[in-house]
């Protein structure tokens, strides 16, 4: 395997050649693509965690309210690990908090699926399931990462995500194979969210660099297992997989929908209004 430095340099060049606005393309430091990739992992958890936390106090029943809050809590905890490592690798003294609260939308690297509005309870659960099924496969693969710190975070997070996946799959099945009303809502949720799933498996120069360095799997390599999980659950849920092939993309490179701006306006308000404020 080539040394990390060589690979990262090559990756930065690739990113430039592809005209992709990544941190790697802007800076000369070889770690930049790695930082970018770590932000993708962290931002997925942060943005989805924030979205899920919006349900706190609003869920249909108390148990679901608690379950969603706990899921959000796990995701925010994982955010601290990923963004904490991103700050450490970057080496400019930025903490996980700095990265979460002081970057603007164009610097966020989450997939578009994570920032989709909650919709109704069914749509929130469908988004969670589609993400969890990917997250589980990703974390499984990352446990054999060539970077020990990445492998350790993945091993920790995988245990939590196993519970997320079990729960979201269970509820997608119960609501899909439920009443006429609940089935219609779940089918609609699946149709609406489907065009946002393709980005999870779309690799770019940053991913290629990570794969070559043995840090992370190629995004495309996770698709077969994800397809299998999703197909199995949808059969049980009596839902039809959408046939459309159009897929949105861009979140991983910082091109977001307007939804992210609203999330950040809410999430970052305090640090923007009162810089450095603490409890």
């Amino acid at each position: 395997m080539p040394s990390l430095t060589d690979v990262m340099t090559a990756d930065a060049d690739l990113a430039k050649a592809a005209g992709i606005r990544t941190m790697a393309a802007k800076g000369a430091a070889p770690e930049d693509a790695f930082v970018d990739w770590l932000c993708r992992m962290g931002d997925n958890c942060l943005v989805l965690g924030h979205r899920v936390s919006e349900w706190c106090g609003h869920s249909p029943v108390l148990e679901e309210d608690i379950a969603l809050a706990n899921t959000a809590l796990d995701l925010i905890g994982q955010t601290q690990l990923w963004l904490g490592l991103a700050g450490e690798v970057e080496g400019k003294g930025r903490t996980a908090d700095n990265l979460a609260y002081l970057r603007d939308a164009a610097q966020f690297r989450n997939v578009l699926l994570a920032e989709r509005p909650n919709g109704d309870f069914g749509q929130t659960l469908m988004r969670q399931f589609l993400f969890d099924a990917w997250h589980m496969e990703m974390l499984r693969a990352l446990q054999s990462s060539s970077d020990k710190r990445v492998a350790e975070i993945a091993a920790k997070a995988a245990k939590e995500v196993a519970y997320h996946l079990e729960r979201s799959a269970d509820l997608v099945i119960r609501l899909g194979d439920g009443t006429e009303e609940s089935r219609a809502r779940m089918q609609k949720a699946l149709n609406v969210l489907w065009p946002y799933t393709g980005e999870l498996f779309l690799g770019d120069a940053v991913d290629q660099g990570m794969t070559e360095a043995g840090i992370a799997p190629a995004p495309e390599s996770l698709k077969a297992a994800w397809d299998r999980t999703v197909a199995e659950v949808m059969v049980e849920a009596t839902l039809d997989l959408p046939q459309g092939t159009f897929q949105h993309k861009g979140g991983k490179q910082g091109r977001h929908t307007e939804a992210l701006g609203f999330i950040l306006a809410d999430m970052q308000f305090l640090q923007r209004a009162y810089p450095g404020g603490t409890w």
């Binding site: 995701l75 690990l81 245990k159």
Partner: protein, 174 residues
């Protein structure tokens, strides 16, 4: 503090065994199995702690409680380190800790270990109904049902006993 009077490690562990978990105060930090190491590095005491869940809000409080308890015992130079790997598992909850949980009304983890493949099995099973038998911590009946996979804290699930009708928390395996 001169090296001649540094308390020995067993004594420090004993002190830590008296620090309660902030959210489930009936068990101690050592019962919970989150104290991974205690050692003297020169005249500095280094306590290595592993988090339970990544987002557990008790983590900060736990660190503060450790520091407060050890300072009260006269430890001046103290450093807390976080260790992620190997990740915490409920297997590390001591037998004594499990009994304390049960007596407190929380069913202790029973479905084996995260390492024995049960976790992977759960994922593969996806929505299959749980085959775990969780005994009611109050009446001992095994006729119980899961209400929700998440309970009052991330580490617990909500159950209900269909015999004595009590709702209770189950400390789920991770």
């Amino acid at each position: 503090m001169s090296s001649a009077v540094l308390p020995d490690i067993q004594m420090v562990r004993h002190w830590l065994s008296q620090v309660p978990d902030p959210e489930i105060p009936v068990i101690s930090l050592t019962d919970l199995g989150i104290i991974r190491d205690v050692e003297w590095q020169g005249d500095t005491l280094v306590v290595t702690v592993t988090p339970t869940y990544s987002g557990c809000p008790a983590t900060t409080v736990i660190n503060l409680d450790i520091e407060t308890a050890l300072r009260a015992k006269g430890i001046e130079k103290l450093r807390l380190e976080r260790q992620l790997s190997p990740p915490w598992t409920t297997d590390w909850i001591t037998a004594e800790g499990r009994e304390k949980l049960r007596a407190y009304g929380i069913a202790p983890p029973v479905d084996g270990t995260a390492a024995d493949g049960r976790l992977a099995g759960r994922v593969a099973r996806l929505a299959g109904t749980s085959n775990l038998v969780i005994a009611c911590p109050r009446c001992g009946s095994t006729k119980t049902e899961k209400v929700s996979q998440f309970g009052s804290t991330p580490c617990k699930a909500s159950y209900r006993c269909t015999d004595c009708l009590e709702p209770f928390d189950y400390f789920k395996c991770i």
